[in-house]
């Protein structure tokens, strides 16, 4: 499983990348693999007041719906509009073109995992 070392991870399989005072959010490679082909992405509205560890939106594969949570507190300032027509970007490039939302905020005080701890968690989950 691909778990980039420079990202932080939520226990519900989201990643967070800090870019100044903005946090870019997506789901992990492991999460997209578990979900299967993503066919529909529901992103939050710009301006949505996101709360860490609470629902930010939903992802649907052919077989199921799953929610994804915000890894941080803050205001959604941008969402990935390409996902409306290309939801499969979440599968093909979960850490790049498949990002979900940008949140103005900070990871300070958020209960996020380092890459090594997240890797250990998914290894335990899939064992």
């Amino acid at each position: 499983m691909n778990v980039p070392a420079d990202l932080k991870y939520g226990r519900t399989h989201e990643w967070a990348r800090v870019e100044g005072d903005v946090v870019v959010v997506g789901i992990s490679h492991y999460a997209q693999d578990q979900l299967g082909e993503v066919v529909y992405v529901e992103v939050p509205e710009v301006g949505f007041d996101a709360t860490a560890a609470e629902e930010l939106g939903t992802l649907e594969s052919v077989k199921a719906v799953s929610e994804y949570n915000s890894p941080v507190n803050g205001e959604v300032i941008e969402v990935n509009e390409r996902l409306e027509d290309e939801p499969n970007l979440v599968n093909e490039d979960p850490y790049g073109e498949g990002w979900l939302a940008k949140i103005k905020g900070s990871i300070e005080g958020s209960d996020l995992l380092e890459a090594a701890a997240y890797t250990a968690m998914i290894e335990a989950e899939s064992a």
Binding site: G36, E37, V39, S61, V62, K63, V65, E84
Partner: protein, 370 residues
């Protein structure tokens, strides 16, 4: 909670990389690599499914025919030996105990293939009815039988080298007892995908060898092992009902759009008077297919409304998904009879969001017959 059971092919699934989930008391693969790839393989080439969880219930004795006629809404009087027929196992209310395939093995023996989740209930129901009658024996042999489904346009080409049975002679919904990989097996031209294909019934101990042989023969031709996920999307597109979703003990075959399995030119049977009454007085509701107009995917259990501003739902979605073949979000729902005409628009509530949908014809997908 009992531990989930393993089919005879469990080790094969693990070796083939299947993602195992619990389904109807069994651990079965939901997918191997990709649901959509497996689905597409079945539509365009072939797929191999382990359907050993399905129940096999045998009805035998001099009273077997009359007994099958009593519990089923279809008419089995014209079946010859070697024919299979789809039907409903009926409650006195005219609703489904289960849906099933009836195979005529002999004049005094029938094999009922039933849903895994209902198998214990079905066997108990049938045994209860048989206890009051002479000349009928009901045997649940589900645990002894493995079942493999090879489905798709290349199914015959892939299976033929492994069997002495001439598959070109085997018509749709017929079966024969023959050999597959040198093992005794029942080969039926039936399936739950909307494609041509075969279901191979054999004793548990033969199943792994047959599984491996079909994979070895089929992989070079594009066959993939396929899981429960693809099985569900394939049957859904083909308009085949799923018990527990589209039909259950509260729905009748007429409401479910299965009028073709309800026969009245036959003897009295369980539920007949209710079904006849429904036919005469007309239905209050009916299962329809729909496509989403607005963005969103309707799923099993989501409420449906006739109008955006209505407070009370008129029914619910029974099955729904993004159709891999058609590339659209489609669903099935029970709607009041006035709203079932093709083109009628209604509302589905998707997680507190109300979106528009439109009634369309079913089945959503029909293969081109050669």
């Amino acid at each position: 909670m009992a531990m989930p059971k393993h089919t005879a092919l469990y080790d094969e699934h693990v070796a083939d990389g299947g993602r195992m989930v619990e389904f109807a008391g069994y651990e079965l693969p939901v997918q191997y690599t990709s649901l959509v790839d497996e689905h597409t393989a079945v539509r365009t080439r072939a797929g191999l499914f382990d359907v050993s969880h399905m129940g096999e219930i045998f009805i035998s004795g001099p009273g077997a025919f009359d007994f099958v006629q009593l519990v089923s809404c279809n008419d089995h009087s014209k079946m010859t030996i070697g024919r299979a027929q789809y039907t409903g196992l009926m409650y006195p209310q005219g609703t489904f105990v289960d849906d099933m395939l009836v195979h005529k093995l002999a004049d005094d023996e029938y094999l009922l293939v039933v849903n895994a989740a209902n198998r214990a209930k079905d066997a108990a129901y049938l045994m209860g009815l048989a206890a009051d009658r002479d000349g009928v024996e009901v045997r649940d042999e589900s645990d002894s039988w493995a079942q493999l489904a090879i489905q798709g346009p290349l199914g015959a080409e892939i299976l033929q080298p492994l069997t002495s049975t001439d598959l070109s002679e085997l018509k749709y919904y017929t079966f024969v007892f023959g050999e597959v990989c040198g093992h005794r097996a029942m080969v039926a031209r039936t399936g739950y995908t909307g494609e041509d294909g075969f279901e191979v019934y054999t004793a548990n101990e033969n199943a792994p060898e047959i599984w491996r042989a079909i994979l070895a023969e089929g992989r070079p031709k594009g066959l993939l092992p396929a899981g429960l996920g693809a099985r569900d999307t394939l049957r859904f597109e083909a308009g085949m009902s799923l018990y527990g979703n589209d039909i259950d003990d509260t729905t009748t075959p007429l409401e479910a759009g299965l009028g073709w399995i309800v026969k009245f030119k036959k003897c009295d049977y369980i539920g007949r008077d209710i079904l006849e009454g429904q036919k005469e007085s007309g239905l209050d509701r009916k299962l329809v297919g729909f496509e989403m107009i607005d963005r969103g995917i309707a799923r099993h259990g989501y409420p449906v409304y006739l109008a955006e501003s209505d407070d009370d739902p008129v029914g619910q979605v029974t099955s729904g998904t993004q159709s891999p073949t058609l590339g659209k979000a489609l669903g099935l729902a029970y709607l009041p009879i006035d709203a079932t005409e093709e083109g009628t628009e209604f509302i589905v509530e998707i997680r507190n969001r109300r979106v528009a949908a439109r009634v369309v014809k079913t089945p959503f997908y029909k293969r081109e017959k050669k």
